[in-house]
């Protein structure tokens, strides 16, 4: 095992920080550390916190971490902020709301930029969570970027997903649209002392009552997949009935909080531990993990195949096809057909 990995396993903070950088940068040493650490993962409870910008995610994460610390649990926080599409730079400002956690060696906070990813996380978030898990933290809190309606990737890496809403952010039609609300295991109305909190509560209740409680594994396998893959992929789709057969569905509770005043946090902790108990009952957690792994393998396969295929093309091959498509002498679909054919001939 690499020296770095063994230092991470003993909980050495500088090693953990360095390992996270190497993993984030796709450095070979990071990959080696990850392989060594992988067998030590799967113990932490991973909790995702998502919601619109300004809903209070960072403040809620700080309050949650503090309350969880009081129960003796150790906490790692992965806080993600957006990368500028123009400069490639980022301002990572989530720590501003987390200063109350300072000086506690049972807490480790790391900020990460999206670096071009669009799903609300960064490309290496999943692996960063694994490093934190292996370092022995009981809970890993993952804060997504301020999310809109379709940044649902957090559901692919967290065991429990909190969707944070604030009052006054839309009518009841917003609440029945597809997307981010569907991935919630727990709905949080933060800033619950603000005007309009009742309306938000009513809209979310209505959403829950009019809909079927969705199965997370089903949601997972429906989001962001290529059509043809979905049609041919019976094995992963077969996972949904598995959790259906295991009986009781989880109905997301709605918890009202005022995170800046630490109000409602105990109720939120109860909801989280109820969800944890639900996952541990029957095979819910295994089913969730199984579908998350299926999606991860598919993601990685897609990436690997694409980069291999691109590497196998001649210089300028794509450019000439672009010109043909632009001249309307070739459809985009046929252009891809030709690229595939050309890559296959050379393989």
């Amino acid at each position: 095992m690499s020296e770095l990995a063994s230092r991470v396993l003993t909980g050495e903070r500088r090693a953990l920080a360095r390992a996270l950088s190497l993993v984030e940068n796709g450095h070979p040493d990071g990959e080696a550390a990850l392989s060594a650490l992988f067998p030590h993962t799967g113990r932490a409870h991973t909790i995702g916190v998502t919601g619109a910008p300004g809903a209070g995610k960072s403040t809620l994460v700080a309050a949650l971490a503090k309350a969880l610390r009081a129960t003796g649990k150790t906490i790692a926080v992965l806080a993600i902020d957006p990368t500028s599409p123009f400069s490639g730079g980022a301002i990572l400002g989530d720590r501003i709301r987390m200063t109350e956690l300072h000086g506690d060696t049972g807490v480790f906070i790391r900020s990460m930029a999206t670096r071009g990813s669009l799903g609300g996380l960064s490309r290496s978030a999943r692996d960063a969570v694994r490093v934190m898990d292996a370092a022995g933290f009981d809970v890993v809190l993952i804060e997504t970027v301020g999310a809109g309606q379709s940044e649902v990737e957090i559901a692919r890496i967290a065991q429990t997903v909190l969707v944070v809403e604030a009052p006054g952010m839309g009518d009841d039609v917003q609440a029945i649209k597809a997307g981010i609300l569907e991935i919630a295991d727990i709905l949080v109305i933060n800033k619950a002392d603000r005007p309009g909190a009742d309306n938000t509560l009513r809209a979310l209740r209505m959403m829950l009552e009019t809909g079927h409680p969705a199965l997370r594994s089903q949601i997972l396998s429906h989001h962001g997949r290529l059509m043809n893959v979905e049609q041919s992929d019976d094995r992963t789709r077969g996972l949904s009935p598995l959790s259906e057969m295991n009986g009781a569905l989880w109905i997301p509770p709605i918890v009202q909080t005022i995170a800046s005043e630490h109000k409602g946090i105990d109720e939120l902790l109860t909801a989280i531990s109820n969800h944890r108990a639900y996952l541990n009952a029957d095979t819910h957690l295994q089913a969730l993990e199984q579908s998350q792994i299926a999606i991860e393998l598919e993601d990685r396969l897609r990436e690997a195949l694409l980069s291999r295929l691109l590497a196998g093309l001649h210089n300028g091959e794509i450019d000439s096809l672009i010109a043909e498509v632009q001249a309307r002498t070739l459809t985009p679909n046929d252009a891809v057909g030709r690229l595939l054919e050309s890559a296959r001939l050379r393989a």
Binding site: R14, R18, T83, S87, G88, A90, T99, R115
Partner: protein, 139 residues
């Protein structure tokens, strides 16, 4: 996905004065220069700054100090960084620093002192130069 990794910078505001406009301008300028800037807000103790630098594994720490307490704060931050094994992380200071204090800070290994009127481009290129000369940064 190898290639250029963004430089990670911690911009911190130690001490008790409540003016962080300068720190925010710098943070924004470094962002526009393609860096990842961890900004931790006002009234940070040296302990908080060293802790954040460690957890965030930054390449550089920049302190914004307007209160006049730099001769107390800067040595303390440097000492804590060194104690955590971050001897190789350069410290930059911005704000109101009298010329007479510069030699003292430089003796502590402070690599850049930027007063009012410094162009943000100069700071960005200074950071880039300091980070590349200290090596690849990995492991």
């Amino acid at each position: 996905m190898a290639g250029e990794q963004p430089i990670r910078v911690l911009i911190a505001k130690p001490g008790l004065d409540g003016h962080d406009r300068g720190a925010k301008v710098i943070a924004r300028a470094l962002r526009d220069a393609g860096m990842e800037v961890v900004y931790t807000g006002l009234r940070q103790t040296p302990e908080m700054i060293a802790e954040a630098a460690l957890q965030e594994d930054v390449d550089v720490v920049g302190l914004s100090i307007l209160s006049g307490a730099h001769m107390a704060l800067v040595p303390r931050v440097r000492e804590l960084l060194d104690r955590e094994g971050m001897n190789d992380v350069p410290l930059l200071v911005g704000g109101i620093i009298p010329d007479s204090d510069r030699p003292g800070l430089e003796a502590l290994g402070v690599r850049g002192i930027f007063g009012p009127g410094t162009s943000t481009d100069d700071i960005a290129s200074y950071i880039r130069q300091v980070v590349t000369t200290k090596g690849a940064g990995a492991a």
